[in-house]
């Protein structure tokens, strides 16, 4: 948003003094003008009500300003498609889309969900009906009902035309601010700008709440267990605390997470228990590969703490494929706190026990042993790694360790 342009009195000598004197003399006028502006802001901020889309057929009538907003969405979607950041997993993608279609049956084919190759906790809806959810966020969910909570929220942003409404309000608020700053001199001039900023944030939160409430209604209508809806935010709070994030991007303009937990609890307070989508195991089976890929991606970006939140909860272990033990070892290794090397070793050993054909566990253990100068052990594990993965991408590193380990082992008593 454009900053307030203070009227500078540098056009001629003495201009500053004249302006100061003028603003004092004009104070009664300034007060009246400010009142008028505030009233005008209240009117502009309210705006004409925008009705939600009723179904896919309604989308054909999008035109004018809203069509422009869709165009921006199309540009973003094109950049995302071209940028190679879509996670390619037909099974997971089809599953997520099927949940969206169950929530919004009258929009089937119009609201399209894609998974983004990112371990961040993020999801967003474009005004044109494209919804993007990060791999990392999907991996943290426990069951289909939680997924439906998320999709219900994002889908509502689209069906309630929040993208278009936000754009309109920012435009109006900004115009108000620009005019205001020109008309009112001195200290009063900044007021319209502040009002404009607060109205933008205020409306954004309202829309988020609307998305929570209407999304919740969709959840109920589709037959999901609504008592899962607060839990998605509880999981996310745990992750945020682990990574020491202030508030993740997804929630930048959202009400605080703690407030959202409370809101969801209130909404679900009177609702009957039971309903679909509560099987953690079913979700785990469908998302097995996505979770492993997400862990891989998370660790490749150095996010060891987030991985530990997911993997060090014994209750959650059955939800992950056995190979996840290796990633637990990697998370400890990368975190590198006091005692983490021992924990990493335990996790690698467990991974070898439960998934003996998974090569990276042997490498993990081999490198740990190598760094601890246990060269014979290191050789054994690293040799086994290369037996299982002869074309391993890090073969050259492993060969260099083996070369040193063989020399050292030979010279050890």
């Amino acid at each position: 948003m454009r900053r307030n342009k203070t009227i500078r009195g540098d056009a001629y000598p003495g201009a500053q003094s004249d302006l100061a004197a003028g603003s004092y003399r004009c104070r009664p006028f300034a007060r009246a003008a400010a009142t008028a502006l505030i009233l005008a802001w209240a009117v502009s901020a309210a705006g004409a009500k925008v009705e939600p889309f009723s179904d896919s057929a309604a989308l054909e009538h999008v035109n004018g300003d809203e069509r422009r907003v869709w165009t921006q969405g199309n540009e973003i979607a094109l950049a995302i498609d071209r940028g190679g950041i879509i996670y390619e997993n037909p099974g997971a993608s089809a599953y997520v889309q099927s949940v969206m279609d169950r929530l919004f049956p009258e929009f089937k084919g119009s609201v399209q969900v894609a998974i983004v190759k990112s371990s961040q906790l993020n999801a967003f809806a474009l005004p044109n009906g494209r919804i993007y959810i990060n791999q990392g966020l999907l991996a943290r969910l426990r069951n289909e009902a939680q997924l439906a909570t998320l999709l219900g929220h994002e889908g509502t942003h689209f069906t309630y035309r929040h993208g278009y409404q936000s754009e309109r309000k920012v435009k109006n608020a900004g115009a108000f601010a620009t005019f205001g700053s020109m008309i009112l001199p001195g200290a009063v001039g900044f007021l319209p700008q502040l009002l404009a900023i607060s109205s933008v944030y205020g409306f954004s939160r309202e829309m988020e709440t609307e998305a929570d409430v209407q999304g919740f209604a969709r959840l109920q209508r589709a037959g999901y267990d609504v008592h899962e809806s607060p839990r998605i935010f509880e999981h996310l709070m745990a992750d945020i605390k682990a990574e020491d994030i202030k508030e993740p991007f997804f929630f930048a303009t959202h009400p605080k997470l703690a407030d959202r937990v409370q809101n969801m609890k209130k909404l679900s307070a009177g609702a009957p228990y039971g309903g679909d989508g509560t099987s953690d195991l079913e979700y785990a089976n469908r998302m097995a590969q996505l979770r492993l890929d997400s862990l891989e991606h998370m660790l490749s970006m150095g996010r060891a703490k987030s991985a530990l939140v997911m993997l060090s909860d014994p209750e959650r272990v059955p939800e992950f494929p056995p190979e996840a033990q290796y990633y637990l070892g990697e998370a400890y290794r990368l975190r590198g706190h006091e005692g983490d090397a021992r924990l990493a070793e335990e996790a690698y050993l467990k991974a070898i026990e439960v998934a003996p054909a998974f090569p990276p566990s042997y490498r993990g253990l081999g490198v740990l042993r190598f760094k601890a100068n246990h060269y014979t052990d290191a050789q054994n594990y690293l040799d086994r790694y290369l037996e299982l993965a002869p074309d391993a991408p890090d073969r050259k590193y492993v060969d260099s360790y083996l070369s040193i380990a063989r020399k050292k082992a030979g010279s050890q008593p």
Partner: protein
């Protein structure tokens, strides 16, 4: 998000209304070999002229219909120049097979980097970069030579541009800005944003950026106007090799 605005605003600040900056460069091989035959069959890549509306609150929105209109005007204006000057024959990209068109799109993305770098170097505040740009040997490489041979095309012409059109409320703010400015001795309204248009011809066999022309035009503008687009394109192509002779011959 970064935009062209900083550079354009800086240049626009030098004069408030109605200034034009035109800039042309020829590949050093074209300069050193004046008898080198210029491309005859040139494929016009889809012009990419983006029009934006700016509101009084400085919200910038690209308007798809306007961009399509302006891009279509740009294509027509270039076609008109080609016909009237007889300097080259335009090839319709629709006639290129799909597989080769995909490759052309990849090279469009590379062109964006090459032209952007050439422009940035020419306008750098550092003489080292300006000197480097004056050598002007920018290229996209010979990767399009296969298409050139199979489709019998000599070069690709790229037209890229931007324009900003003030909304009614912004225009009102500008008028008000002038009015207030009369009292305080300085314009205090929203800044104007210049129109920017560029054209580049790339030899498909060598990849050389043979000719590169840019025009900035501050003050009120609207590239939805076919007449204005033609005028700007004609200005751009005034420096095309042989254009002055073709123009004199017509006279």
């Amino acid at each position: 998000m970064l935009s062209l605005r900083p550079s354009i605003a800086f240049i626009a600040a030098l004069c408030l209304a109605g200034c034009t900056f035109q800039n042309t460069a020829l590949h050093k091989n074209v300069v050193q070999q004046p008898d080198r035959p210029l491309p005859h069959r040139i494929l016009l890549a889809q012009p990419d002229v983006r029009l934006h509306e700016i509101s009084a609150g400085e919200l910038v929105e690209e308007v798809d219909e306007w961009s399509k209109t302006a891009s279509a005007h740009a294509a027509k204006s270039v076609e008109a120049f080609a016909q009237s000057s007889g300097l080259f024959e335009l090839v319709d990209p629709a006639k290129v097979p799909d597989a080769e068109r995909i490759k052309l799109e990849d090279y469009s993305a590379l062109y964006a980097l090459v032209a952007g770098s050439a422009y940035g170097a020419k306008h750098s505040m550092y003489s080292a970069w300006r000197d480097r740009a004056s050598e002007f040997d920018y290229t996209l490489g010979p990767g399009l030579a296969g298409i050139a041979d199979s489709q019998k095309i000599d070069a690709v012409l790229y037209v890229v541009g931007t324009d900003y059109i003030s909304s009614a409320s912004r225009k009102a703010a500008m008028v008000l800005g002038f009015a207030v400015g009369l009292f305080v001795g300085k314009y205090v309204g929203p800044e104007s944003r210049p129109l920017f248009l560029s054209a580049g011809v790339v030899d498909m066999r060598t990849g050389e950026l043979l000719w590169f022309s840019t025009e900035q035009h501050s003050g009120s503008s609207d590239l939805r106007d076919a007449g204005l687009m033609k005028s700007v394109v004609d200005d751009l192509f005034k420096t095309y090799p042989g254009a002055d002779k073709a123009s004199n011959a017509k006279k």
